[in-house]
Symmetry: C2
Subunit: 343 residues, 2 copies
């Protein structure tokens, strides 16, 4: 079933509206942007002409002329990670009434791809850039430094940012989780996470976690890593694997909630007493999982809030002058749930 081709006519310009309304291009432009004083009469004439023609302004030309682009570049590692759509949603909510629009680029956790995406974004001369993480290639870092627009690095505060930074300390998140686990009396502790050298935040949590254990004179009893696949399913598998290998583990710390939920479900299916026989904890506070009958212990990473604050910095910067260099550290909240023994 095919229909006649869309006709490719010349796109309408300001001039068309100008001619149709008998008003100069300049005045038409003023009306369409709500700038300067225009008499109500001309205003209406113009608006009507524009509407009846179906005129859509050309922002390319507008941006070139005004040297102003209402776009904010947002660079994130992934859209399937669940965490990032939430950050995005915070950004998008905060930007709602500012006239700014987020443009998303995805890097798949590849520094090279990140560099390429950043280059591409900067070539559109956005009003600001929000980028996940503090670790970038040298070239990317140079681009960020020279972009001449506000840059906000998000998610992580453990390191040195280029301009502003909004996030949590993943190192301390891991450390605090270790402390809570030890305080609850667990001693034979296993770690389960992703095998992703480029997931710096997961790594920092891992490091912080081990640090926290070390403070209590404990070392990780076992660990297990995975790559790709459905996180829930991987959580099951890994849990089975690690418990088979090291049966006396009494706690499993998962580097994210999805694998943690998989592990939890596996334990429940297999009649393992949680948190009596074994305790579990994840990371992120994914609300997706709120419907589980047993609530997994986790740490909320303040994802929406991070998005909001980052967007706020970009949107606010022009007003408060180009200050730059804010560092906003949010405090992740430990939620004990039902998978860590109380007292």
């Amino acid at each position: 079933m095919s229909r006649p081709p869309i006709e490719t006519r010349r796109p309408l310009t300001l001039r068309d509206v100008s001619e149709a309304s008998g008003v100069s291009e300049m005045t038409v432009s003023r009306v369409l942007r709500n700038r300067g004083d225009v008499s109500e009469a001309t205003r209406e004439k113009v608006l009507e002409a524009a509407k009846s023609l179906g005129y859509v302004p050309n922002k390319i030309a507008g941006a070139l002329a005004s040297q102003r682009v209402n776009l904010v570049g947002v660079i994130i590692p992934s859209l399937s990670n669940l965490v990032f759509p939430e950050v995005l949603s915070g950004i998008s909510a905060e930007l709602e009434d500012t006239g700014l629009q987020p443009v998303v680029g995805v890097t798949n956790y590849s520094p090279e791809k990140e560099e390429a995406v950043l280059y591409e974004m900067l070539s559109w001369r956005p009003s600001g850039v929000i980028i996940a993480g503090l670790e970038h290639t040298e070239a990317a870092r140079a681009m960020l430094e020279n972009a001449g627009v506000p840059i906000v690095e998000i998610m992580d505060v453990d390191g040195q940012g280029v301009d502003s930074v909004v996030g949590i300390s993943h190192r301390r998140a891991g450390l605090h989780m270790a402390e809570a686990i030890i305080a609850a009396g667990y001693r034979r502790i296993g770690f389960l996470g992703t095998k992703m050298p480029e997931d710096h935040r997961a790594r920092k949590r891992y490091d912080g976690f081990k640090e926290g254990l070390a403070e209590a004179g404990i070392t990780l009893a076992d660990e297990e890593f995975y790559q790709g696949g459905s996180a829930l399913a991987k959580g099951r598998e890994m849990t089975e694997t690690i418990l088979r290998r090291t049966p006396d583990l009494d706690f499993l710390y998962y580097s994210n909630d999805m694998i943690g939920a998989g592990g939890l479900l596996w334990c429940l299916d297999n009649g393992i007493d949680v948190p009596g026989r074994i305790g579990l904890a994840g990371f992120n506070g994914v609300d997706l999982l709120e419907g589980l009958s047993v609530r997994l212990a986790t740490m909320d990473a303040c994802r929406r809030e991070i998005g909001r604050k980052a967007a706020e910095i970009i949107a606010g910067r022009p007003h408060q002058g180009l200050i730059g260099g804010e560092v906003i550290e949010l405090e992740p909240v430990l939620e004990l749930g039902d998978t860590i023994r109380k007292g």
Copy 2:
């Protein structure tokens, strides 16, 4: 801890590279775009100058001059629906090597927001637009018709598209699910879904489902709708509610996999025999859930594939001439899983 402000120097232009390399702007431009023949010697000179200056081309100016924009507008209702990030991922994969870049706009299922987002997108004169659904405001439809670039409406084929269409028939998806359920011997059937007047695809599945039941002389025994909140949790709640109200139901059809999974978990927790006492089915084939011990019956909506095909149409159009009007209907695959009785 604050650092000195980012210095706001004049952005570099082609002219700066031209002067630094002693080559004309035009030749610099050619080198940077890999266009036309340039001697290896000049080429290297230019590249080095550009790199050492840290020059990033201005696509705004480039796009205006060349009347070409390597952006593809993608307009979707939501990023938290899980389905859409998957579609996006298909689009982004297909566009990978075409030089085209997706730009995402989110409508929150609001037709007015969709109209606004579309207007905004078209004002950047993208090379094409991919938009979810066939239902738009009159103004939005007019914009799509007059955009002068390929338009692909995705997800749904039940209705009349503006240009090309890639999707599945949600009506028939619902209908087939009804047939499968009846064939398995279930008779007292309940429906659980979202209370979203603007989710036309869910509505079409609902209609198709009832149609399928009607063919067998059956009517829906009960139904329950929800709005907002964690889908998994809502699935639990609604399942409890509907079964309390209508205890003799022997099948529950959920309008998406997440609430379906919530219902499944509730049944398992409450020792209800699935699929013996009651059968369950969802919709979407969300791999996120692959780790459940009992696999929910579902219908894969071919989300990545839809994204791929849509992007392929946009990317391919310039080559095969502006034909327009393809309609690609994909066939959702019924996956019986473990929650529908066999035979």
